[in-house]
Subunit: 250 residues, 2 copies
Amino acid sequence: MGETHLELVVAPIDPATSLKQRTYVALKQAITGFNIYHKDAQLRLDERQLSRQFGVSRTPLREALNRLEFEGFVRTIPRRGVFILRKSKREILEMITLWAALESMAARLITTDAGDDEIATLREMFLGFEDGQITARLDEYSDANIAFHQRILQLSKCAILDKTASDLFMHVRAIRARTIGEGNRAARSIVDHIDIIEAIERRDTDLAERLVREHTLKLRDHVEQHFDLTGLAESGAEDVLAAMPRKGAA
Amino acid sequence: MGETHLELVVAPIDPATSLKQRTYVALKQAITGFNIYHKDAQLRLDERQLSRQFGVSRTPLREALNRLEFEGFVRTIPRRGVFILRKSKREILEMITLWAALESMAARLITTDAGDDEIATLREMFLGFEDGQITARLDEYSDANIAFHQRILQLSKCAILDKTASDLFMHVRAIRARTIGEGNRAARSIVDHIDIIEAIERRDTDLAERLVREHTLKLRDHVEQHFDLTGLAESGAEDVLAAMPRKGAA
DNA sequence: ATGTGGTGTTTGGTATACCAAGCGCTAAAG
DNA sequence: CTTTAGCGCTTGGTATACCAAACACCACAT
């Protein structure tokens, strides 16, 4: 193996991402992996306390919070505090509607722009799931389900479409995971998916768009009918925040 | 007028928005109202210089920059500087595609959710523009044109749809204004609009969606064919930024 | 007991000081 | 003249200090 390397192979280099970036990632993960809809959930964040916990100063922490605020995960009110935002039911429904718009356009683009080999990968994702096995392996199917929709966005080769959907997904992920098990949604879901795949394979642009849209709007209607947030403060409402005391009840 | 006021009328209060907010607005306006596609445009920003110009410290200025970076207007590279981003042609095309997805879904929602009175406002927007007058009053028509599309997003009553489109519009506004005058696009544009309005008035959901989508994709194709950014550095490309010297050539 | 004014503490907003990474410039070596 | 090592300045990143608003709490007066 003497002549194997004619040039020095250099390490890919990880310039030790900035604190701001790492803090942002850590905080975002902490928030998204946190059941904000539990009635006793602690929605208030403390800048200084967090900066101590993360071992950084307030500056990078505030930059992370700033970004999270822009993304809609958090809301800071001067002299009051930083609060994790709950989405109202209406907001959730709107986000699913937006999702439907994005994904149906993505399906459209796939039928005209993607190669057969790329389209083939869609069908492969469901090979292991026969009708009888879905309920038994619900967790796995749930993952495959999510991956399927993400794949559609990716195959559209429209980066901004994919990115917009990804940002959106962060907000809806908790709901999505919760609803997949209800009723026999999983079983009906896989039928929809097969239909979608076939429409795409046949390059039927309008049909693919329609099927994707209707599939997502089914989720929307399901959430509308079966999802209940009653009794939970919707932190989107100004009044609730305004009335909230600075510290948790002593 | 003795008993007019039984209670003291208090002023609505404007708590003098934070410096961060005001700096953000000012900076954003400066950037969007700036021809970033001129070949000699100064794309580099200097934190300290800007903070002096705005009369604030670096902290609120950096928070504004942070936000603008997240919105995609700006990119900061450590130890190099902050750069105003140009959109590549591909990015512009993708944004228009995304816009088509958003607005066609909005049209769909209008046909099912909006009242006749709301829909009527769409037609009113074009009352003053007869076929012969369009080219003569191009500026006015351009404004009405933009307002029309924004109105559709608003009437959808889907706040997140509207907001996503608004954010998008900031990025495309320069291009949109430039293309309206080319060819006889304005004349054909108004025909499309009338067709769209009629479809919505008839509550023809699928037709309205299709017409809106196709109308926007026409713009997309037009930009694809006639818009040329050749010779301009596309600051989205890493190499270009990496090769850029720290200061402008002396 | 109740209402009221003051006071201390908490909190996000802002300003500033310091750091290390990059880059240009220059001077010395060949 | 060309090359290169080194110095110094510029720049974004980070830490810290200080401020004013807001609220809770308490003492005091009624």
